[in-house]
């Protein structure tokens, strides 16, 4: 038997690492992967709560999160391809058109 708290702590740690990767990485694709990592951390918490409360609602939410993440990946990677084509670089520091 694994306590629910362990799963939630693991979820928090993974979310924190996702935030770290999001802030520190310079490659636009890796930053996108950090967002996926944070979504996965939230999914873990959803499933842990759903199992602890013995209700399937949380698992349905996870399915919706996965669907939205898949749609987001398709559109986001399209935007990344467009950005890379226009600025010929994947570095987010180079994408500074709106910078004063």
């Amino acid at each position: 038997m694994v306590p629910t708290t362990y799963y939630l702590i693991l979820s928090a740690v993974l979310f924190g690492l996702g935030v770290l990767a999001f802030v520190f990485k310079r490659n636009i694709i890796t930053i996108f992967m950090a967002i996926e990592l944070m979504l996965n951390a939230v999914n873990l918490a959803f499933v842990a709560f759903s199992q602890a409360l013995n209700k399937s609602d949380g698992e349905v939410f996870v399915l919706f999160v996965i669907v939205v993440a898949a749609a987001e990946a398709a559109v986001g990677l399209g935007i990344i391809i467009l950005t890379a084509r226009n600025r010929s670089s994947l570095n987010v520091e180079r994408v500074d058109l709106l910078k004063l």
Binding site: L14, M33, E59, V60, A69, L77
Partner: protein
Amino acid sequence: MSATLFIFFVLAGLAVFGAVTLILQSHPIHSALSLILVMLSLAGLYLLMGAEFVAAVQIIVYGGAVMVLFVFVIMLLNAGEEERTNFSKLAGFAGVPLALALAGLIAAAVANSTRHMPAATTGALTSTRNLSKLLFSTFVYPFELTSFLILIAILGAIVLAQREHN
């Protein structure tokens, strides 16, 4: 230590290891492979909790479709090593402790508030039938809306990534 607890710690360690290597690797393809490791170990954790359908979807959609899309784009754009840019001193000085503090704060809050919750690992598999009943009765409108979302996302991706006609 029971067997389930041991499996939990192995899978949790793999997930955290994958997340840390995602940050430390400088090549995007290595980061993508570490993210696949995280997703597979999370699928194992779902299976351990008894959510077998979510585990299967995790592997098929996340480990399969989404990550293949990522790897595909990395290869398409021929992404190389990450450029080292000297970010501000403040980011390196305060960023890491603050991010760790965020994780610690969330962990402490949930640990305090869920101490008396029952164990997440029941050992028995919850029936997928329950999940599908809920999905097609209570959540049927959001479920139908997701099909529109997917359609719009496909159209958006095609419009964004197509070559401009001169």
